[in-house]
């Protein structure tokens, strides 16, 4: 029976992390080089963890499915990274960043974790600057900041519209330095297919070489997941095509609990869907909401004209425009948090005020900003985003308003971890987007980069030592033991089973079906009936998948379809768990909106009395329902209030 223990250190909130560090076990330098750590994924969390552990003296094995660690999807983050530096002298502090993050997450995250995140945020900026990350600067040579959704201060550091890229390259380069020194063994194009447990502890993985299709065994003293989020369960999302949940899902099936799977973030500003062949959605950074104004027409007939193509955005006079975010939320206006902005867009489009041919788009307009600041200023701030928009849509956003619509963007849920980022499997840690921890039910803009790097540079390299200190007498071991044998056999059998189906439907065809079920039933607005229906449909789809899937090619070979099929098998199971989790969460909070639970004005209505918990799911076996465990969230330092951005 699993017992959840969040292992929050004693002491006042602001002293917990330093108390922890003062009292934890450490590993001495001579022993560090005898200990191996596997890190899955090379995004911000994975690359920074691998580099930091290797600098300390541990031997690291680093894995990614891409051809180079530099391509992990953190690279696509655009807007920025938060830190409580208060360089703008606008009243920011660690407490304020902590408060905004808890509130932004709709009071469904742990106080101690979030406070630590805010605390180490400042060190991240120091570290990245020292690495040569070219952040934006003022003329005096100091760092520049911008503001982001859900905050009243300017605390976001940025490198044009490519902040994720620059931070990732900083971590990638730190990792490259350790590869050169021999402290990191790098395995690109090697995908994790199973977790190997020895005596109840995570001791290794089974990898599949993407090029040869061969299964390989890797052992270590601990395994760190940094495998990212599961947004691709929806097929269409802003995630990379290869981003998948399989590493985390294999760990779930081996006994790691999965926290809050129904908490996914829908980003309000993405380029709308164009048609059936669409393969992914492109994000337009939240930073655009600093200067862009979001609107739809006030009059139905104007909206219909836009939908038919007889009218253009510019034809609609100022007095007939409904700047609905500014109208509904005067205090935060266009900078309300993402979940609020997304739902407001959906509400207007569902009411028939959408502005493109599908009726599923709203305007993001820069006319006023260009008049106020001049085209040059806007170009300097957002040039690359405007260029990207024009290349994709063939519309020039300097002249006509952008069209945007919400899209799946980030998963707050993930592997359940305690304060040490340790999962319920001893020796298995989860970092960055792959864990559930810091964002509650909604993540604020520019906080994903912060959390990924906080975990990788400053948290995990400490907390993992508290575990490894007890492993110094465990020698390196060979992988020809029964546990590895068995784990490899499981993978081989699963792959053979997939190849043997020989049905008629391609992986993408089935994945699109899953995506539609998820978007309709487990998407931006959910209700009991829809969730029950979605769960039923997912189960049916699972049967179709295992009966009618078609994979060409061979098993021991480069086989992209087999690779995708294996991921989809896991997404289908995860989709069902998401529906179950959304069903038991009988409230609306953050990205999780249950239509049954809303205020008269249509705002999310939490149930703090009964629902202030983390839902952690335990796998109980094929065709059995998972068991639900609840970690109650205790708010001692913050008053739990209804979120108000008015």
């Amino acid at each position: 029976m699993v017992k959840l223990n969040s292992r929050i250190p004693d002491g006042p909130l602001a002293e917990k992390w330093s108390n922890y560090k003062s009292n934890q076990n450490l590993v001495n330098p001579a022993n560090k080089r005898k200990l191996d750590v596997i890190v899955i994924g090379t995004g911000l969390a994975g690359a920074s963890a691998a580099a930091s552990l290797a600098e300390m003296g541990f031997k690291v094995k680093s894995f990614c499915y891409q051809d180079s660690p530099r391509r992990a999807h953190s690279i696509a983050a655009q807007g920025g990274i938060n830190a409580a530096k208060n360089y703008q002298n606008d009243g920011d502090s660690i407490y304020r960043l902590f408060y905004d993050t808890i509130k932004g997450g709709d009071y469904r995250s742990r106080e101690a974790n979030v406070y630590r995140l805010a605390e180490v945020s400042n060190e991240i900026i120091d570290q990245c600057v020292a690495q040569g990350v070219p952040f934006a600067r003022e003329y005096g040579g100091t760092l520049d900041n911008r503001s982001f959704g859900g905050a009243l201060v300017s605390r976001t550091f940025y490198a044009r519209g490519q902040t994720g890229q620059q931070l990732l390259l900083g971590a990638y380069q730190a990792q490259a330095r350790q590869v050169k020194k021999g402290n990191i063994e790098m395995y690109p194009r090697m995908e994790m297919y199973n977790l190997v447990m020895v005596d109840g502890k995570a001791r290794g993985i089974i990898g599949r070489d993407v090029i040869t299709g061969k299964l390989e065994r890797f052992s270590a003293h601990a395994v760190v997941l940094a495998s990212g989020g599961y947004g691709n369960v929806f097929f269409l999302s802003t995630m990379a095509m290869g981003a998948n949940a399989s590493a985390a899902w294999q760990c779930y099936k081996k006994g790691a609990l999965f926290g809050n799977p129904c908490f996914v973030q829908i980003h309000p500003t993405c380029i709308p869907v164009h048609g059936e062949a669409q393969s992914k959605l492109t994000l337009m950074s939240e930073s655009l909401r600093n200067d862009g104004r979001i609107w739809v027409p006030k009059k139905k007939e104007d909206a219909e004209g836009l939908q038919k193509g007889t009218l253009r955005g510019g034809d609609i006079p100022e007095e007939d425009r409904d700047y609905y975010l500014e109208r509904r939320y005067p205090a935060f206006g266009n900078l309300v948090p993402r979940d609020v902005a997304s739902r407001a867009a959906k509400e207007r489009c569902d009411a028939g005020y959408g502005v493109n041919s599908t009726g599923l788009a709203v305007f993001l307009d820069f006319k006023d900003a260009i008049e106020r600041l001049g085209k040059d200023v806007i170009e300097a701030k957002y040039g690359n985003l405007f260029q990207m928009y024009e290349k994709i849509t063939d519309h020039n956003p300097y002249k006509v308003p952008m069209m945007i619509y919400p899209a799946i963007h980030y998963s707050m849920g993930g592997i359940w971890v305690d304060y040490e980022l340790h999962s319920t499997i001893p020796g298995l840690f989860a970092t960055g987007e792959s864990n559930f921890s810091d964002h509650g039910a909604n993540r604020l803009g520019a906080s994903a980069l912060m959390q990924g790097l906080a975990d990788g540079y400053f948290v995990l390299p400490y907390t993992i030592q508290n575990y490894l200190a007890d492993e110094i007498n465990t020698p390196r071991f060979k992988t020809d033991i029964p546990e590895f044998e068995e784990a490899e056999k499981e993978v081989r059998e699963q792959l053979e089973k997939l190849m043997a189906i020989r049905g008629t439907m391609s992986v993408d065809t089935l994945h699109k079906k899953l995506g539609k079920i998820m978007w309709d039933g487990v998407g931006m607005a959910r209700n009991k009936e829809g969730l029950l229906k979605a769960r039923e449909e997912i189960r049916k789809l699972k049967e179709v998948f295992w009966f009618d899937l078609k994979i060409p090619g061979k098993i021991d070979d480069l086989n992209g379809e087999l690779q995708k099929a294996s991921r989809l098998a896991d997404f289908i199971e995860l989709g069902e768990l998401m529906a179950m989790d959304a069903l038991i969460r009988e409230e609306s909070c953050g990205g999780h909106f249950r239509e049954e639970y809303q205020t008269e004005e249509g705002e999310a209505l939490r149930d703090d009395k009964n629902m202030t918990f983390v839902a952690a799911w335990e796998y109980k076996g094929e065709d059995k329902d998972p068991a639900l465990h609840k970690e109650n969230l205790d708010f001692k330092y913050i008053e739990v209030k209804q979120r108000n951005y008015k």
């Binding site: 930091s52 600098e55 891409q66 051809d67 180079s68 660690p69 530099r70 391509r71 992990a72 999807h73 690279i75 696509a76 060190e123 900026i125 120091d126 570290q127 600057v129 020292a130 690495q131 040569g132 070219p134 952040f135 934006a136 600067r137 003022e138 005096g140 040579g141 100091t142 760092l143 490198a159 490519q162 890229q165 990638y172 730190a174 490259a176 330095r177 050169k180 690109p188 090029i211 990379a240 095509m241 048609g275 062949a277 669409q278 393969s279 990207m388 290349k391 994709i392 063939d394 540079y457 400053f458 390299p461 391609s506 993408d508 065809t509 078609k550 060409p552 090619g553 480069l558 379809e561």
Partner: protein, 245 residues
């Protein structure tokens, strides 16, 4: 629109490759180039044939995974974008499109349109970083950087490591890729400390890995999807001469 495709198919590095012709019907002009290839692959799968293999991931022009020769040009006919951002509206109904992998000794073909670009990682490992351990950094605003230098550094740092510069170069030189990294770090006070060693090591590695020399043709700059300029190669040369004395 209806299209004819001539696509390079090659089983593995040791087997001879060849162009294979395909026809596609009813492709939407709003589709991206890779979505058009998705449609082709779905057709191949339904016929029980093996799909065309190519690298791609983010599909928003930033990860650098995709890279194809399209009608003889790296990343295709549009400028300042990667293949994944190229849209079919740049082609006409009835067009024949020729698709090939990057061709350079340092980037061996793996299959079809997929190549091995590990050489780029090896170059960065040779010194494309600042040697600073986690936790040892001073306060971020203690290091002042002139805005002009930060901006130039960012221009260079925008490189996505796709390899189009190498593919475009008649000598398969990696000077633009290396020049971009050298420039980014040489322009910042943090990177200056190691600048001599960095440039010597990275240039030596470039030769070792089989990249050719630079003859100032400028094809790399013309085809770079991120607009990295030749100035960065000039800066590399300047850093190199500085380091020799």
């Amino acid at each position: 629109m209806n299209l004819k495709l001539k696509i390079w198919r090659q089983k593995d590095p040791n087997t001879r490759g060849k162009f294979v012709n395909y026809r596609l019907r009813d492709i939407s002009a709003d589709s991206s180039f890779l979505e058009m290839l998705d449609v082709l692959n779905e057709e191949l799968i339904s016929k029980g044939e093996e799909p065309v293999v190519y690298d791609h991931d983010c599909r928003e022009g930033i990860c650098g995974a995709c890279g194809l020769y399209i009608n003889g040009r790296p990343h295709g006919p549009d400028s300042l974008i990667t293949v994944c951002q190229l849209h079919m509206r740049k082609f006409k109904d009835g067009d024949t499109i020729v698709i090939e992998p990057w061709r350079a000794r340092a980037f061996p073909i793996i299959r079809d349109l997929m190549v091995n670009r590990n050489a780029f990682d090896a170059l960065i490992q040779e010194g494309g970083y600042v040697s600073v351990n986690t936790g040892s950094a001073p306060d971020a605003n203690a290091i002042l950087v002139k805005k002009e230098h930060a901006d130039l550094s960012m221009d260079a740092a925008a490189c996505i490591g796709c390899g189009a510069c190498v593919a475009a170069c008649k000598n398969a030189s990696a000077m633009l890729f290396v020049g971009a990294k050298i420039s980014q770090l040489a322009l910042l006070p943090q990177g200056k400390i190691e600048s001599n060693r960095r440039v010597m090591d990275m240039v030596a590695k470039m030769d070792e890995l089989g990249f050719g020399n630079c003859t100032n043709t400028g094809a790399c700059e013309a085809e770079c999807p991120k607009g990295i300029t030749l100035t960065n190669i000039a800066r590399l040369n300047r850093e190199y001469y500085k380091a020799t004395f």
